[in-house]
Symmetry: C2
Subunit: 209 residues, 2 copies
């Protein structure tokens, strides 16, 4: 029986809900809802920062995701990708981090394949400055085109410290965004691999979008 006189000794379940994960499509649950995601006209990237292990871009604007309002907080990159899909690793993954007023986090992960170059990634790589933050004005709405919103939906964590749990993940496996081999090579020349290894799924459910 739970002892209210020994509250400091209660066991907790922290750390059981971590990201990234290896998404096994065979155990995902069929979609009950398709992804609903819309952006306001102010949704864009405003500043480019050398985050030491990656490029981080400050975001502005709002998105309405599954009927809830979120602010675009920041966008950053992982190479190779952090999430695996059926054990397969994409070369590049983009995280679009959103937060609502009470502090709930929702990250949209774009699983990016090598194909055509991206104009926005060119702008980002061209403006990157190791030593200084750079003001930018980059429209990324075409990364989230309506027709390419297949993927997965699950509850996880930040993939870097403080590894906060209760983070909602939308992992898009066929986004409009692709990266060229030359762009990927440019990014890799700037940063060492920065992918956290997959974490145990434990008792979580993954929904197919």
């Amino acid at each position: 029986m739970l002892d209210y006189h020994q509250q400091n000794h209660w066991a907790n379940g922290f750390g059981g809900q971590q990201s990234p994960i290896d998404i096994d499509p065979k155990i995902t649950i069929a979609n009950q809802q398709s992804l609903s995601f819309s952006m306001d006209t102010n949704y864009h990237l405003t500043k480019l920062i050398n985050d030491q292990t990656t490029i981080r871009l400050i975001g502005a604007g709002q998105a309405v995701i599954f009927n809830r309002e979120f602010n675009l907080q920041q966008v950053h990159f992982h190479a190779p990708a952090e999430h695996l899909i059926d054990g397969q690793q994409y070369p590049f993954e983009v995280h679009l981090v959103h937060q609502n007023t009470i502090g709930q986090l929702l990250v949209v992960a774009l699983m990016v394949n090598v194909a055509s170059p991206s104009d926005q990634l060119n702008t980002i790589l061209d403006h990157f400055d190791v030593n200084n933050d750079v003001d930018v004005n980059i429209d990324i709405t075409e990364w989230l085109q309506l027709n390419d919103r297949t993927g997965f939906h699950y509850l996880g964590s930040l993939t870097t410290p403080p590894l906060t749990e209760g983070v909602e993940w939308i992992v898009l496996d066929a986004p409009a965004l692709t990266i060229s081999a030359a762009q990927l090579k440019r990014y890799q020349s700037l940063f060492a691999p920065n992918n956290r290894i997959p974490q145990p799924l434990n008792h979580r459910h993954i929904y197919k979008l």
Copy 2:
């Protein structure tokens, strides 16, 4: 710089987002949205369980809360209350625990004062059996009447192990539900005080509903 070769040694921020809290109305943020909460016709309690430190009732039905669908998972009680408001403790607190498909938790807390008896609490106390689960069919929609939805909205945790974080809290400070002195005494004769002590707010924001 974050070392991707030493991922097992990364520091985490687990435990900084705990519930209950002492809600200081002076530092709450004015409401941007009023509480939107609607229940389907199946929203009710189905089974009464002796949970050793409290009575737990299994829930059925769905609620749409701030435009999101949740299932009513379970309802239980704390005496005295766990949340404080401006340092003041209510005698009784009801937790209505909701969960959505991906596993996000949302708890509606009713801060209950001593006044008129509640028909539903009478039914619950009358049917309570220390040794056996009891099937019930209790409509609690009047506990969540539209006119009495003032309170607070913040991000916290479960208040019992596993103390899971990322739990959305809606704390209603003037719910329609009250408890009579006799009902409270009956409950207290069954269970020792089961209130977790208030936890540090840290950097969280509390919104006024």
